[in-house]
Amino acid sequence: MTTTAAATGRLQPFNVGVARRRRIAIALLVGPALLVVGGALVVPAANLLVQSFIESSGYGQVTYHFTFSNYTDVLQDPTYRRIAWHSFGLGALAALICVVAGYPAAYFITFRLRRARNIALFLVVVSLFTSYLVRLYAWYTILGTQGIINTGLVRLGVVEHPLLFLIFSRTAVVIAFVNVFLPYSILMLTSSMQNIRADLLENARDLGAGPVRTFSRVVLPLSMTGAIGAFAYTFILTSGDYITPSLLGGTSSTSLASIVSDEFLALGNRPSGAAISFVMLTIFFAVYLGLTRLERWKGI
């Protein structure tokens, strides 16, 4: 008894010292990163949340009066609703095309390539990193009235005048979206297909399943995680995009994001812009959660 007491008596101050030094070390190591995220994201986001509940009073002015009206106005405004559906529609279409178009390529890269697989994946990663804006600009010149497609068609005599609907249209926006986000789909699909053992496909074939059946009963269910991830990711990033619609969409496709930026920059109505941002963010998270739940619910 006495010896243990003496021992702990001697050890305790030492342990306390070690524990305190440990705590200080942790704080010094982790603290700066927490400060960066806290200062440059959490505080501004909390501020934005507060803004969405106060009243706007003229350009850039606010009155600190608690109100829900920013949210009710946004949710009831038919123009906003129309533009929101438009943005979500474009995003869903682009996401669907990316997943569907990505499947055959991902399948080929995973199951048919051996030595070239890493090179193919490397190329996909490179295209994912190549400047977003340069790719938009590329489509801008390709689809433009003086672009390759139009001058080609005119020279070949297919059309007399350049096709004006190629650029500044929803088509142009979707083409650019697919170009930018297809690499993400391919990567996510290949990484989920990598867990499918190749002998599983052989078994299916041996049991008499044709290629369509093998795909729909084996490959598709087992790579669903990648497909859903790719769809959700593309949907969220494209329907929240404003750079692509503003460069390639012309007046035909006002985006949800451009409304937010207009509220802030052109109209100076911060509360309304803040409310739209949070509604948008909520919808994105709901879609993401819904899709991941759907996957679990299906028991895949």
């Binding site: 440990r22 942790i26 010094l28 190591l29 982790v30 700066p32 990163a33 927490l34 960066v36 995220v37 440059a40 994201l41 505080v43 501004p44 986001a45 501020n47 934005l48 178009a101 055959p104 390529a105 080929f108 048919r112 193919a120 490397f122 996909v124 490179v126 295209s127 990193f129 190549t130 400047s131 977003y132 804006l133 340069v134 790719r135 600009y137 590329a138 801008y140 010149t141 390709i142 003086q146 672009g147 390759i148 001058t151 170009n179 297809l182 690499p183 290629p211 969220i236 929240g240 995009d241 404003y242 750079i243 503003s246 460069l247 937010v260 930026s261 802030f264 911060r270 803040a274 941002s277």
Partner: protein, 260 residues
Amino acid sequence: MARRLRASALLVYTILVFVFLFAPIALVVLFSFNKTASLTFPFHGFSLRWYRAVLESPSYRDAIFASLRVAVISVVVVVVVGTAAGIGVTRYAFRGSRIVRVFLFFPAALPGLFVGIALLSFFVQTQVSLSLWTVTAGHLIYVLPYFFLVVTSRLQRFDYMLEEAARDLGAGPWATFRRVTLPLIAPSLIAGALVVFSLSWDEVFITFFTIGAQNTLPLVIYSTVKQSVDPSVNAISTLLLAGSLVFVFSVRRLAADLQQ
């Protein structure tokens, strides 16, 4: 027979996908060397006139330096702060270390629009005038999660017993870090730094809202294209492209780290 046909159909399809992904960029690079102002075939021959135009234009030159400055500052800050945090959460399994990890990854899940709007509204209210510093603040938030991911996946495999051995041999904490830990994790830090550079160099979404009077390279391209078609945009785009591909030099290291 049918099987072989399907296999070659898949091959052709995959090649077409890669053509779709790379052809637009290839065209921009090609026409940046065009002799004439035309943006379409026939190609009239090589010249460097558009690159000369870019380097002689003060607004393009300033934008290049602005982008470099923002990217380099982001890299330095994120490497220091992110490495420290990575060591903190992997060396000590403290209470809340999981929450810290999630908290530091979380910004990557937010759309750039939201981060940009939150920062803009905050800066306007606190009367911080928009400049390259406000742009840098946005970039830090954007790139920190990626760097943190790279560095923690490396440190997960790091044997902290090596540090203890060094300490037992009498090395102080700083000497231990500089002589033991740093040399071992340096390749991953460099790989992460290159990724951070690429991401920052190319960022438009957050920059769009936090930018002051001085444009960065992507934004100068954006505003030029919005106004008119200027063939020197091909040349400046090619420069932007070159910078955004800096990360390529780190691909092997990254693949090795992230696969663990």
